[in-house]
Homo-oligomer: 553 residues x 2
Amino acid sequence: MFEKHSALLHKAVVAVEMREFWSPFSESPASYGDNAIEKGRIAFEAYRDASFYLDQPGVVGRGGEEISPYGLPLNVTYPLCNPDALIIAARMAMHAWTKAGADTRAGVCLEILSRLNENSMEMAQALIHTTGQPFAVAFQYSTVSAQGRGLEAVAVAYREMRQVPASVIWEKPQGKNPPLKIEKSFTVTPRGVALVIASAVAPTLNSYPALFANLVTGNAVIIKAHPEVILPLAITVAVARQTLKEAGFDANLVTLQIDDAATPVGKLLALKPEIRIIDSTGSSGFGEWIEEHATHAAVFTQKSSVNCVVVDSTDDYKGMLRNLTLSLCLYSGQICTAPRVLLVSREGVQTRDGLVSSEQFGRDMAFAIGKLVEDPARAVEVLGALRSPETLDHINAARDLGEVLRDSFPLAHPHWPEARVHTPLLLKVPVSDEATYAREHFGPVLVVVETGTSAESLAIAERVMRDKGALTFAVYSTNPRLHEFSAEISLRVGVALSLNLTGGLLINQEGGFSDVHGSGANPCGSAAHIDSAFVTRRFQIIGARRQVAGDAP
Amino acid sequence: MFEKHSALLHKAVVAVEMREFWSPFSESPASYGDNAIEKGRIAFEAYRDASFYLDQPGVVGRGGEEISPYGLPLNVTYPLCNPDALIIAARMAMHAWTKAGADTRAGVCLEILSRLNENSMEMAQALIHTTGQPFAVAFQYSTVSAQGRGLEAVAVAYREMRQVPASVIWEKPQGKNPPLKIEKSFTVTPRGVALVIASAVAPTLNSYPALFANLVTGNAVIIKAHPEVILPLAITVAVARQTLKEAGFDANLVTLQIDDAATPVGKLLALKPEIRIIDSTGSSGFGEWIEEHATHAAVFTQKSSVNCVVVDSTDDYKGMLRNLTLSLCLYSGQICTAPRVLLVSREGVQTRDGLVSSEQFGRDMAFAIGKLVEDPARAVEVLGALRSPETLDHINAARDLGEVLRDSFPLAHPHWPEARVHTPLLLKVPVSDEATYAREHFGPVLVVVETGTSAESLAIAERVMRDKGALTFAVYSTNPRLHEFSAEISLRVGVALSLNLTGGLLINQEGGFSDVHGSGANPCGSAAHIDSAFVTRRFQIIGARRQVAGDAP
């Protein structure tokens, strides 16, 4: 498998060094064959009303009660396994996997990714009917981009593992005596069994980097699925297990752990001393608990974020409105990089056509959202559905927190009458009410805050992002001084900056092999997808040395 | 400074990739000029009975009560600074240092190292009269090798920082439309103020990797010295501050924190939220406390270790005895990689001249130690002095823990009548008494354990090292099967293997730019000097992007 995929691996390693645009898997459904989308639907339907087959050890029952946010009960059950049985099986499986070496492991990982890519269309449907993502997000973001991030993880880790030679002769001169000759070897060993706690809204994109970084460095992986979003991960695990088996390895290198809301196993698993690596995506409360309690493991978290946007001035007002509105509406603000707080000064927004007052800007935003959602058939392809009823509760509660600039309302889905589709809520909160805006309003809620000046907007953005965490920081300004200030803030807070994005790249879209997702430098998480720190703690270099000749008398 | 040192930096980066023998600084005193050792003594004497000058902020008094393990009171005082003042000053200093970029920082770090190298002889004397190291250890190990490890840290970190380009044009095709063009930049930002808690027995060798890895990645460093071993670090800090100042940076990028046994500040500093990186070398108790409590920081520990030796068979019995005895005696077993437990089977040791019974092997070890220490003038140049009176207490207590194969006795130093010099204790403990041998007997105590077979020896070694931690694992065997078993154990435990070292390289000697010190994979510590994981958590990559052309209509 290494030879089959070595050209792709080489390209991926070059891509992470170049950071130019590179997409290893096609984002165009057309490249997936005739009627690919329809075939994906049929394949997805075949999973429904059935037992998902996974020959994992320690089965104590079956579980799974997924209901599509579009209203469709999935009625799929999965094996419910004893966590200790999965851990023991994982440990057993690692020995041969470690010995196989980095090349072999990389080859198998790339084969898994290539098979996942072949299954992209059924994966997209599985994602739609668990996360509520619209097709474009499920396919491009959670399927193709997730596969790309998986490949990126393999490439970054492979690059790091290859830094150290397998063996070397160390020859130290000894003056007049013959040199001291030592034969040395260096072996990459895995850290241990890894736990990947997947999120409900981005189950693949946020877990593939960890899954593949762990696998390629020799670790076995237990993926803990959110009880309401299992199918995309079950398909992933099944493909991985089948590939591993065919490659002659123990399938238990990748297993799926399910649970239910009544008896969650995430924390229980995280505290097991055999778990040596934990990647966790979820709320700040859960992530902080892991960081504080799982001190025996290498912990990588992605937590809540309060992404800020500062609007000062623009030479493309329409483009800015479009980008902001789409960023907010795409999958109903359930993408972790979505804008949460928009800061605009009372002095208004300077545009090519003159000054737009902050009130007018609020009305323009409301109008732009209205335009975007006025055709339900088109709107649902952007908004998708709210994954959780709790997000709807949150919208309803948020309405009372400030002045409603544009209210959220339910939208009838043309195909799924019971789909949980709601338009975004645009809310204005006084600058003094920091307790309200300086927290994550997850979902389609954008909080507009009117400040005294753009300098104040930037200062508030810095404080909020520094204290509460942020993945993205967007600034619209034609003023070079503000560009400098924004860049300084971005570096101090450790948040990626998007400056004046008015075109096809949304402020919450990130490109694999180029953009780093997160930084580990602010409270929104301790991990970055995918820097070298993300992979290097997953393996060790163990040396062995023996004398081959020497100065012995 | 970057241009001045760029050739050396380049060589160092190549060396960490090649892992062949490379020593950037000379290990021969002769290369340090005429009468270098004597000049070093004079320079050291100038520090005595004086106030050490460090213009640090927040001075609240002076401290320092170092007494040489050779009996000489140093009578040097150092500024005692308020920890918060050092933190604030460190934060202020980082801004310009971050902006200067990796090249400039690497140049300054190499200039600091080159100046430290010029001061090597006074540093060696400072080390002798604080740690008790003999000259050879103080000079080669704690001075020249420490500088080499510092350079290695710069090289490994530099290599990692250079992986990401400074800027790039990201151009995404848009079908028939013009491509989406985004200008991206990537900046390395430091994690934050770093605390380096130095050990008493290896203050430079164990802190230079952290000091230089932190500095080159943009972090400010507070070095916390052990109250009895300050001078080598004060000299280091003074050289670093002077160099930084001359290079136009804030000297407070490197400060010294002292304390005394009555009011220790290590834990207090470690819990400060502004401290974002902690490197700590010390006992397991302290290290584990840091790991459990300082969850807000990236923590790198070096803790206690129970390094095991398994003696099965050898074709160079004399060479083996010499290597083992020297490894034990060098600086009186106060090097953290020294052998602690020696496992030998009742079946005896197969040699070229026939079988040596385990009893005879014990007598031979005792005799070899006797030979090594019989000439006090020669012996003290190997043994050095016991740094702490507690180590002497430990020897005295250990005597009752088993059968004494060779007792420890005080040795009169030819020049320093009050020097704390004691020969090693060779102790035999029953295999059943695991509680006694499965712990670190720090100092010149080697515990011999007689097992049933070499297979049992290996099994015990694995269990002890896995549960208690180990930095080195030495095996003597002519049996290829045992080589394989040993290699497997080394990989499972995460400990470096030394096989059949009978010549000039001792089992506890490690070579910079080649051997990895520690692994982070067993309880003796969470860090390895110097793998890529050691450096990558000390910085982040922060992206910025702006649209330069696009698909906007």
